[in-house]
């Protein structure tokens, strides 16, 4: 794979701090604390808010606050933008409770993208831990729409329990998709589960890709990202072919406020998706 020209496609936009007022079209309960919101877009908004896999929007729950949320929907579908949110704080809890017809504020899209174009011609392994599947789902949509452009594709997912596993119907569909490998592992499983149990890196030997020639995309808790990137390096994946999506406290989303500074980077503007060798040194700095 050639060096990615740039995974940062966020162009300056007029009035980046002004939210658009949009309407929730549909809410899907994914798990006890996770919900997916389809937000309706008219034709004008569809052009302006088209997202690339890996990008995020700032979602505003009126009267509560604003947080960054990765796009989780199909980037080819333009009449809506889809976000999947886990309730962990006041704003995310308010967003998860929104219903069809409710108003929501949105700024974006922001941030860098997964290198889906640069990966054409290569094998691709996608590794997700827990809620980390959310920003990787658009990658899967993209790859499956252009299946002939890629080599072997493997999606490896880890989740705490079966009840925490996101997008289960969709995973079942992908499991039946030809020329697409899906492996799921749970941290702990009851009698309903007959699949793999253990840490997500245990799945790497099962990935039906040429690890020396593959592009890897990883998202999950940062501990999982570090462990998985290291495990990929151990089996011969070049650090320049590993991409990770990082998370820090983002506020402005345009690289002004400095809340998400990560060494010389602002995650909101330069990230959240990075080539691993560009950030691996900083991932080892505890003060960051």
């Amino acid at each position: 794979m050639s060096e990615p020209a740039s995974i940062n496609v966020a162009a300056p936009r007029p009035e980046p701090m002004a939210p658009r007022f949009l309407t929730v079209r549909r809410r899907i309960r994914e798990s006890a604390d996770v919900a997916t919101l389809d937000i309706a877009l008219d034709d004008a908004d569809a052009r302006k808010l088209a997202c690339r896999p890996g990008q995020f929007n700032m979602l505003y729950a009126f009267g509560v606050g604003e947080i960054p949320v990765s796009v989780s929907g199909d980037p080819a579908i333009l009449d809506r933008v889809t976000h999947t949110i886990r309730a962990v704080g006041a704003v995310s809890s308010a967003l998860v409770k929104l219903k069809a017809g409710d108003s929501i504020g949105l700024r974006g899209p922001f941030g860098s993208r997964w290198p889906v174009e640069d990966a054409a011609g290569s094998d691709v392994v996608i590794i997700a831990g827990g809620i980390g599947l959310v920003p990787l789902r658009p990658v899967v949509y993209h790859l499956l729409r252009r299946r002939a452009s890629y080599g072997r594709i493997s999606l490896l997912c880890g989740a705490r329990t079966l009840d925490d596993l996101l997008f289960r119907k969709e995973l079942d569909r992908w499991r039946r998709t030809p020329d697409f490998q899906l492996r799921v592992t749970l941290d702990r499983a009851d009698q309903r589960w007959a699949g793999d149990v253990g840490y997500v890196t245990n799945l790497l030997p099962k990935a039906r890709v040429d690890l020396a020639e593959t592009v890897a995309m990883i998202c999950g808790p940062e501990i999982m990202i570090r462990a998985t990137a290291q495990a990929l390096e151990d089996v011969g994946v070049a650090p320049a072919r590993i991409f990770v999506s990082l998370e820090r406290n983002m506020k402005c989303a345009i690289g002004l406020c400095g809340h998400c500074q990560f060494g010389p980077h602002f995650l909101c503007k330069d990230g959240p998706v990075y080539r691993y060798d560009c950030v691996s040194d900083f991932l080892a700095v505890r003060e960051l």
Binding site: R188, D190, Y199, A227
Partner: protein, 148 residues
């Protein structure tokens, strides 16, 4: 039909293991087949055996009142199952249940401990094969508990 030494040589456990040691430890081993749902060992029972998984998968489980059994690790083809045979009081810490048809090489722990005691070179070769997966599992178990 392959003898037990031949089956052992095919397993990653025996890679770079001298032919003399393969032949020696094969005397402590037998072929074993488990149907889906069979238990290879049960929590609290004497840890008389360990297993080299040839085909299939085995779930390591424990039991919580009111929640039933839950698995925390699956051990698959090419891997080692069971470490309690190494450490006194040689008692199994968890249940091991075949989640599919599983073929394994079963080792008599007491027999192998005796051969390791009699020849420390054999013991060292066994340790070199047991310690890496045990350390790896400990590391991954820590990551599982710390991921948030």
């Amino acid at each position: 039909m392959k003898d037990i030494a031949a089956l052992l040589r095919e397993h990653p456990f025996a890679q770079e293991l001298g032919e003399d040691i393969v032949t020696l430890i094969a005397g402590c081993a037998k072929n074993a087949i488990f149907q889906k749902g069979d238990y290879l060992f049960r929590e609290g029972a004497p840890a008389d055996h360990f297993y080299l998984i040839r085909d299939g998968a085995v779930a390591l489980e424990t039991f919580a009142p009111g929640r039933g059994a839950f698995a925390f690790l699956t051990v698959k083809a090419g891997e080692i199952l069971g470490a309690d045979w190494l450490v006194s009081p040689y008692r199994s810490s968890f249940d091991a249940r075949a989640v599919e048809l599983t073929r394994a090489i079963a080792f008599d722990g007491k027999c192998l401990r005796g051969k390791c005691e009699a020849d420390h070179h054999v013991g060292y070769e066994m340790m070199k094969r047991f310690i890496p997966p045990l350390v790896q599992r400990l590391r991954l178990a820590r990551l599982q508990s710390l991921d948030a």
